[in-house]
Structures are given as structure tokens and as C-alpha cells.
């Protein structure tokens, strides 16, 4: 299984860089994951999205519908695509420490 070095520890990720164990996640780690995504700096808006997805995942064990994401963050859909150019699944969910969603992503 691939892993990333983080604070002297090995964190397991899948072949596409999604965390294997969601509990490994931390804000620091999110920054490392962001770099791999080509996002140099996580802005306040990035965090708003990440934190919402993270919390929703902890409560429901699945990623939220993008509608909820827009509603809760009050960001228009297109802005979310701008923030995370790989899209909500491969981009935002990955940074929020979710395992890779099933389906066509």
C-alpha cells in the first residue's frame, strides 16, 4: 500500500492519494494533500468547504451532495469548481480526508 511521510510517520493512502483511514486526517495533513493537488495555499474559502465535508462525513459516513455543500457554504457551484479544480470528489473530498467515493469518479 502506498503511503505519505508525515511528521515522521507513514500515513496510508490509496494509489490516488486518498486516505485509507479517515482518522489519520489533520489540518496539517490537509495542507500536504493540497500540495499534491497543486493547491499552493488553502484559503479561508477552501477551509470552509473542507471542514463542512469533513464534518458531514463524520456524521453520515459519506460525502455530502454538492447541493448541501453550496447551501451550507453559500458558495455558488462554479466557485467550488474553481477552488478545487479536480472537482468536489477528487479534490475537496480528498483534502477532507475521505476515502475515495464509489462510482464514476
Amino acid at each position: 500500500m502506498p503511503f505519505i511521510e508525515f511528521k515522521g510517520k507513514k500515513v496510508e493512502v490509496n494509489e490516488e492519494g486518498f486516505l485509507i483511514k479517515a482518522e489519520d486526517w489533520s489540518e496539517e495533513l490537509a495542507k500536504v494533500l493540497a500540495e499534491a493537488e497543486g493547491i499552493d495555499e488553502l484559503t479561508e474559502d477552501h477551509w470552509k468547504v473542507i471542514n463542512y465535508i469533513r464534518q458531514y462525513y463524520l456524521d453520515h459516513d459519506i460525502a455530502p451532495m454538492v447541493r448541501l455543500l453550496c447551501k451550507e457554504t453559500r458558495f455558488p457551484l462554479r466557485y467550488i469548481y474553481q477552488l478545487f479544480t479536480s472537482g468536489p470528489a477528487r479534490g475537496a473530498c480528498k483534502l477532507a480526508g475521505l476515502p475515495k467515493p464509489d462510482g464514476c469518479v
Binding site: E16, R67, S86, R90, P101, D102, C104
Partner: protein, 444 residues
């Protein structure tokens, strides 16, 4: 060496479940090797195990061992291999991880063998052995257990559709514009790829806008909306049947004339071409790609478009299961020639187009992600040569792969559905038609 239980299963399969078409195929390959460079894996990685004939030989060699005279007597002579020599890991890698079943080699086989079909037959064996790569299997399982491959609940879908309806009304400036749900007697039942409501709903608004402009009498289902069928990829006919039956039942329940499939290659292929065979019946409704409907609207003058709205150079990607295996070849070109001002074909195209690399369920199989992106090289080169800024890809699966290729190879393109491109160019009727006027005359 694999467990004897596996051996027994494989032997049993080889004995009882070899269809006629497969037997003809494995008896016909002459190892000429002309298929080699028709494969995007071989083009990218130049290893002999990526030659389609080599890949198919993993199954053919088993067949020869148990079904041919020489294979039984002097196996080494014809390269016949028994189950005891089989490495399940290699077999799985070959048929799941290193082939998108795109069928480019099938079109180019000098004999005329449908190699894509053979690979799916090989996948069927692995279904029985429980060897389907985990991520792909879990997508199939989700679909079977929850009704769609992203486990979207009914209230989540209806909530999203309401939200999209409001967006639509704003965009067209008409509060009567609707996205109808579960409407019995509609002419068209439109089906989605779950990733649209879940993560990428712009494509739904685009199609809703087109339906609105065309005055179509259409509907979505709030429960059986998933057009995809990942069991087609995994080779699991039993699951494929369960998934397909839902759509057919829904279409019959609502009494629609047309089941329209979203821009999704394998979904179209599954429901249009494979499902009648899986379910053993002919359908009482037509199955169409949404592209066919859009093309009809354009030629009937039901919608009008202004190509100047799409002025950046646009090229077209031909999804394997929609084009090479689906026969939907010309309508997308017909549409783009009207909806964009600068349309450039990539070469080769149509049934000779290269796979994006994400087909065959590969997009969902993280296990093989690295190779998948390498195998996209042929596609990347094709796109580069067109100089296009937008790649129209009538397949959500291809779009995701294209977006990833874009990132990795710094192509600087945007991958979009054809629906989105058309919606941008749409000229809305001034004296707007009311889309909910569904007089019976419109039906049929």
C-alpha cells in the same frame, strides 16, 4: 499456485460456461501481432504483455488446455496452460488493470475477433472467484444495494432537483420551467449518471434547459435514475440484470416512449444493446442517447443555437462504448457543427478513436490509477494535435479521465459534455412555450 477451490471453479466455468462466440474466437487467433499498436497501453508502454493478443492468450491458453486435442496431449506445443500454472494476480491485472475493453483492437484485428468481448468473458471467471478489484466491486455493490452507485437517497435527489429547478428558472427567466419528477405518461424518461446530482449537476441543468427550449414532455425518476451499470464492467451478469431491470421497470411503470440515457458511454451500451439480452426480452420503449434527442431537436427546428457562443476551438472525443460499441457516431458531430463555431476533428476518430484510458471501469479502480494515466498518452497526443481548448466528451467517465490527463500532462483544456456546450449556445424562444403543456398529441 492458487487454492484448489479456485481451480475447481475455473474448470467448472471452462466446462460449462464458454459461449459459442468465445469458442470461435479463441480458435481463430493466429498470433499475427498486428493488433499490437492498436492498443493505447502498448503504445504508451511498449511491453509485450500489453499486446491485445497476449492479453487474450491468458484465457485462450486455458481453453486450449481443456478443449483442444493437442492442448490435452502436448500442452507446451500450443502454449496450453492448465489452471495449476495460472497466476490469479497476473490474470486479474491483465483483464482488469491493463485493458479498458475499448475494442480498438477488435476493430483492428486482422482476423476479426471481438477482443473486448473476450476480455469481459475472462472477467466473468474472476467474478466467480471473487477477484474483482475491490473498488470496482464496491461500486457494483453500492448500485445493487442502494439503487444507485453513489448511494444517493431519494430525498437527497429530490432536494437536488428542486435546487436545480430554481437555478433553471433563474437561467431561463421563466418560473414555469420545470424538472419533472416521476411523471407518468411523459414521452421521455431521462436517466442520469449519479455523479451528476452528487457532484457535477451543471450537466443536468444544461439538459433541462434543452428540454425546456424544445418543449419536451420529459421526466426524471426520483428512485431509479441511475443509468450506469458497473456490472457490465465487472463482468457480473447477475448484478447487471438486477441493475438493468430497475430502469426497464421504471420506464414501463411511467409508460414512456423513450428512455434517454445521459452522456455516458457504458450506460448507453448496457441499456441499449446488452440489457435486452440480459433480461431476455425486447423492450416496449426505445432506448436513445440524449445526443440523438438533441440532434432531432436541432433538425426539427425545435431548438435553435448560436455557434458564436462557443467560439474557442472544440474537438470531440469518441467514447468507446457509445461510438465503437454503441453505433452513436454521427449525431454528436451534427450537433457540434451547429453549436460551436470552430469544430476540429481529432485523428483518428469515430470507431478508430483512442480510448481516453478511463474506460472498462478503470476510472473507479484506484489500484491501477498510475498505469491508467500513462495509458492516456495516445489520447493526450491526439488532443494536442488539434490545438483545441475544449474537448467535448459525451461521457462523464471520459470527462473525469480527461480532466486528470489535463492536470498530469498540462494540456490546458476544458472537458465538457455536449449538453453543456449546446445549452450555452441555446437561443431561448421569445414567446416562450410552456414546457408543461403535455397535450397527448405531443406524445409519440
Amino acid at each position: 499456485m492458487e487454492a484448489p477451490a479456485n481451480h475447481r471453479l475455473i474448470l467448472e466455468h471452462l466446462k460449462r460456461k464458454i459461449p459459442r462466440r468465445l469458442a470461435i474466437l479463441v480458435n481463430s487467433c493466429v498470433h499475427c501481432g498486428l493488433c499490437s499498436d492498436s492498443c493505447h497501453y502498448y503504445l504508451a508502454e511498449n511491453k509485450s504483455r500489453f499486446i491485445p493478443a497476449f492479453r487474450t492468450d491468458r484465457l485462450s491458453s486455458l481453453f486450449r488446455r481443456y478443449h483442444t486435442w493437442l492442448g490435452r496431449l502436448i500442452p507446451f506445443w500450443t502454449g496450453a496452460r492448465g489452471v495449476e500454472e495460472l497466476s490469479l494476480k497476473e490474470f486479474t491485472d491483465a483483464v482488469f488493470g491493463e485493458c479498458t475493453m475499448c475494442g480498438r483492437c477488435s476493430i483492428n484485428c486482422s482476423v476479426g475477433l471481438d477482443i473486448g468481448f473476450l476480455i469481459r468473458e475472462a472477467r466473468k471467471i474472476l467474478v466467480e472467484l471473487n477477484q474483482v478489484p475491490r473498488s470496482l466491486q464496491s461500486t457494483v455493490d453500492k448500485a445493487v444495494t442502494t439503487g444507485n452507485n453513489m448511494a444517493i437517497k431519494e430525498e437527497e435527489l429530490t432536494g437536488t432537483i428542486q435546487w436545480l429547478e430554481e437555478e433553471l428558472q433563474q437561467e431561463v427567466g421563466d418560473p414555469r420551467a420545470k424538472i419533472p419528477l416521476n411523471k407518468a405518461g411523459a414521452r421521455v424518461l431521462y436517466t442520469l449518471n449519479p455523479r451528476e446530482p452528487k457532484f457535477f449537476p451543471l450537466s443536468i441543468i444544461a439538459i433541462a434547459k434543452i428540454f425546456y427550449a424544445a418543449g419536451e414532455n420529459w421526466t426524471l425518476s426520483s428512485t431509479n435514475f441511475d443509468a450506469t451499470n458497473y456490472a457490465y464492467y465487472s463482468g457480473d451478469d447477475q448484478a447487471a440484470r438486477i441493475i438493468a431491470r430497475r430502469l426497464v421497470d421504471e420506464a414501463e411503470k411511467l409508460g414512456v416512449n423513450i428512455l434517454a440515457v445521459t452522456e455516458c458511454g457504458h450506460a448507453y451500451r448496457s441499456i441499449r444493446w446488452e440489457s435486452p439480452n440480459w433480461l431476455g426480452k425486447r423492450f416496449g420503449f426505445k432506448v436513445k442517447s440524449i445526443l440523438e434527442l438533441i440532434a432531432d431537436y436541432l433538425s426539427e427546428g425545435r431548438i435553435r443555437v448560436d455557434p458564436s457562443a462557443n467560439s474557442a476551438p472544440v474537438t470531440l472525443h469518441d467514447p468507446c462504448n457509445l461510438v465503437r460499441y454503441g453505433g452513436v457516431v454521427e449525431v454528436q458531430r451534427h450537433i457540434l457543427r451547429q453549436a460551436v463555431s470552430n469544430f476540429v476533428e481529432m485523428h483518428p476518430n469515430r470507431e478508430n478513436n483512442y480510448c481516453c484510458g478511463g474506460g472498462g471501469g478503470l476510472l473507479s479502480m484506484s489500484e491501477y490509477a498510475e498505469l491508467r494515466l500513462k495509458a492516456g498518452k495516445a489520447k493526450v497526443e491526439q488532443i494536442r494535435q488539434t490545438g483545441a481548448k475544449v474537448v467535448a466528451a459525451p461521457c462523464h467517465n471520459c470527462i473525469d479521465q480527461l480532466m486528470e490527463l489535463n492536470k498530469k500532462y498540462k494540456l490546458g483544456i476544458e472537458a465538457r459534455t455536449i449538453g453543456e456546450i449546446v445549452a450555452d449556445a441555446l437561443i431561448l424562444p421569445s414567446g416562450r412555450v410552456n414546457p408543461s403543456t403535455d397535450s397527448p398529441s405531443k406524445k409519440g
